[in-house]
Symmetry: C2
Subunit: 80 residues, 2 copies
């Protein structure tokens, strides 16, 4: 079972990586970029008996720093 | 217009960050983890007149290293 975890910085938290990407896009001549935010995508290949709560536990304990980051878990049924 | 770009390592490319996460999850006592791959999520806030081809150009020129990485562009209509 493949699960995707999206980790993004909370609103209001400074994002130097995003700023750098924004700056570089402008330097390359791309117009119309208002804002860039950088985050992480973690793909977990899990055994089928791993519960949803366990995945959430993984996020809270390791994958995301919940003080400054939000996380979103996407299961295969709902994956884009 | 908010667009999400997912950048993931191609199959076969070593992923030390994913390996480290996998190892750490096991160290925390989580069982049933078969594999972990780490990638990037870049959220672009673009002007409405930016064309799809321009976004793809941004990915090829800056956001992804297409030798070792794949990228996927998700528009708001199709966002998960």
């Amino acid at each position: 079972m493949k699960i995707q975890v999206f980790v993004t910085l909370k609103n209001g938290v400074l994002d130097p990586q995003g700023k750098a990407i924004h700056h570089a896009l402008e330097g390359l001549g791309f117009a119309g970029v208002n804002d860039v935010r950088a985050g992480k995508l973690i793909e977990l290949d899990l055994a089928d008996d791993v519960a949803d709560e366990t995945v959430e536990d993984m996020c809270r304990k390791l994958l995301a720093n919940t003080v400054i980051e939000n996380f979103r878990i996407v299961r295969p049924e709902t994956a884009a």
